[in-house]
Amino acid sequence: MDLSSQLLQLLFSGLTLGSIYSLIALALVATYNITGVLNLAQGEFVALGALLAASIYAAGLPLAAAFLVSVALIAALGALIERSVIYPARESSALTLIIITVGLSISLRGLALLVWGTEPVSLPAFSSGGPLLLGGAFVNPQTLWILGMAAATTSGLYIFFELTYTGKAVRACVINRTAALLIGINPGTISLLAFAGSGAIGAAAGIFITPVTLATYDMGFMLGVKGFVAAAIGGMHNIRGAVLGGFILGILEVYSAGLISSGLKDAVALIVLLAALMLRPEGLLAISGRKV
């Protein structure tokens, strides 16, 4: 394997990891900006979505149906959590809300352990056929599905925020909650929407990666942490920044593991996070001087 095809192979690997991190970062940033809650249970939505879809598929439903049912159920779970836990505590401090989401994360992980146990589960690949050979690198077709899903979700959200009335209402809530309330936008509804939406995005991401990575009850925690790092690199207020942060993190991890040493992988991610926080604490794509 020569260097150029090795670099290309690693790039595909980095893009796959990066798109998973991007989706989680994106859901984190969207919820954070709409509700002010940094939802550290976001990773659990990924795990629960994947486990649920695997169970539904094992029960005999076709893959597409398992996907839709699981995404809908996790979106409902997100909404339920928002109504039962976040909404009643909405006047609390940011710290209290973060601690609530930590508790949620532990509870959901415990629930998943009770229901699914410790053995990993899997889903079949979305399209059959072996790996494709692209310019000397082998690419699993599922990688293309993951990349496609990340692209579709990102552009869908972009259109939603920029072009739809509801999307603009959401952004209004982010900019000034009181003013939004005065012009007839209900921040409570928007908050509910945000949690349902991040549940759906998390579940979808989990289901798309399961054919490659398998699903376990404890997969969410690490993914949540990496998603948070990606969001912090890109800036907590910017959806495009979060997506960019995810890809930067994924590609850096893979290149440091593949070209230098596999032991360095997580260290590099943390060094980049520290550098980003010190040199550009507002995030890579933030408009400088803006404060929320």
Binding site: M1, Q6, Q9, L10, F12, S13, T16, L17, I20, V85, P88, A89, E91, S92, T96, I100, G103, I106, S107, G110, L111, L113, L114, G117, T118, E119, P120, V121, S122, P124, A125, G130, P131, F138, V139, N140, I209, P211, V212, T213, L214, T216, D218, M219, F221, M222, V254, Y255, A257, G258, S262, G263, K265, D266
Partner: protein, 394 residues
């Protein structure tokens, strides 16, 4: 103070969820009737819940099944057997508390357990001090070594070094002298790496590249591209699922073109199912249980393997695995010793140490004062996955 009430409610909910998870501390069977004298009490500390539960559950099932069988047949020399199984929740501290309870309150004759190496190690001090025989079901060789400090401790699972020697002989036989070693970054992977490195040096096998990955990693392509550029003749992976399954899939996607050898950590059907075809061709050393239908009739273990498979499948509607096999062997080593010498801890220990030629599920046990495991390379076989099935390699 509505806010405060809400917060208190949330905290209470979280705590109660935690309690729910850590609860259910095991089962106890009380038997007071018997034809003969007092029942014989033996204890077991098993990882029934927590991270090692996939090991502990088949072990608990096996012990329960065997205790019922012994009692249905009238017990041991007319004494019924009272088996007390406690759950250590895969935790060292819980294991120590459980073993102290078994010894001080229940006054058991001997202790079986634990399922994994960490909790087993944590019980050693107590059983050594109290002079109670203990039979561990875990892999690490340090559980029974140095044997001068472990007079009361025995174990039934093959030690890491037995597995690695089996693997080494295979590599040498096939002329695969430059290999890549990939291992997961935890106690299991590190233990395998240390033992493999030492054995490779002794056998003239060269490790040309060494890579590690986290148990939670989702993609091992980077590590494998390094293996691909290193010119290794074979790759040896020391890991358990799910990371062992992911690396197996990546290995196939990358079209590596060299043999892939795993440790016995992937030795169950679930590994093959999860890899969805990518496991075909994988080679590993493992106990004979999963290929019991393929071993020759002349094998001294064949009878016990078939008996275990039949009895377990009948009772639990699923095939047994090698972890349950460790429990089977521990149970019978102990019951045979009690049958011979009765309720005397020191005599039970001496009898265990002098057990020779006991044909168990995990192998032919030949224990001695210097070897408290008693299993050798002949207890393992090399198997290969073929069309989603385990196949014995000659």
């Amino acid at each position: 103070m509505k806010k405060k009430r809400v917060l208190t409610g949330i905290i209470a909910a979280i705590i109660s969820a935690g309690l729910l998870l850590s609860g259910c501390a095991g089962s106890k069977e009380t038997l007071k009737t018997g034809d003969g004298g007092e029942p014989y009490k033996i204890g077991a500390v098993i990882d029934v819940s927590g991270s090692s539960s996939s090991l502990g559950v088949p072990e608990k099932n096996t012990l329960q099944m065997l205790a019922d069988k012994v009692n249905a047949a009238g017990g041991i020399n007319g004494h019924l057997l009272e088996l007390i199984i406690l759950d250590n929740k895969s935790d060292e501290t819980e294991a120590v508390l459980a073993v102290k309870k078994l010894i001080n309150q229940e006054k058991v004759l001997a202790v079986l357990g634990c399922s994994s190496s960490g909790p087993s190690m944590s019980m050693i001090d107590t059983v050594q001090k109290e002079k109670v025989p203990m039979i561990s079901l875990a892999a690490s060789s340090t559980i029974v070594e140095p044997v001068q400090e472990r007079q009361w401790v025995f174990k039934t699972a093959q030690s890491d070094i037995v597995t690695i020697n089996k693997l080494m002989s295979y590599l040498k036989e096939k002329g695969l002298t430059s290999v890549a070693l990939l291992y997961m970054n935890n106690a299991y992977g590190d233990g395998g790496r240390a033992a493999f490195t030492a054995a490779a040096q002794a056998n003239g096998v060269k490790i040309v590249v060494e890579e590690k990955f986290e148990a939670t990693d989702k993609d091992m392509t980077p590590q494998l591209t390094r293996v691909k550029t290193s010119g290794a003749q074979a790759a040896v992976v020391w890991a358990i699922p799910p990371s062992a399954s992911i690396i197996t899939k990546n290995f196939k996607d990358l079209n590596m073109g060299i043999p892939l050898l795993h440790s016995h950590g992937v030795g169950n059907q679930n590994f093959i199912d999860l890899a969805q075809g990518a496991a075909d061709g994988v080679i590993l050393p493992i106990g004979k249980l999963i290929v019991a239908d393929q071993i020759p009739d002349s094998d001294p273990q064949q009878e016990v393997l078939n008996r275990y498979i039949e009895e377990y499948s009948q009772k639990y509607n699923s095939p047994p695995n090698s972890f349950g096999g460790y429990a089977w062997d521990g149970f019978y080593l102990l019951v045979n010793a009690i049958e011979k010498v009765g309720a005397d801890r020191a005599a039970i220990r001496d009898t265990l140490e002098n057990t020779r030629g006991y044909s168990g599920v995990s192998g032919m046990f030949n224990l001695s004062a210097s070897d408290h495991n008693g299993l050798h390379e002949d207890s393992m076989v090399m198997v290969q996955v073929e069309n989603g099935k385990w196949k014995l390699l000659k």
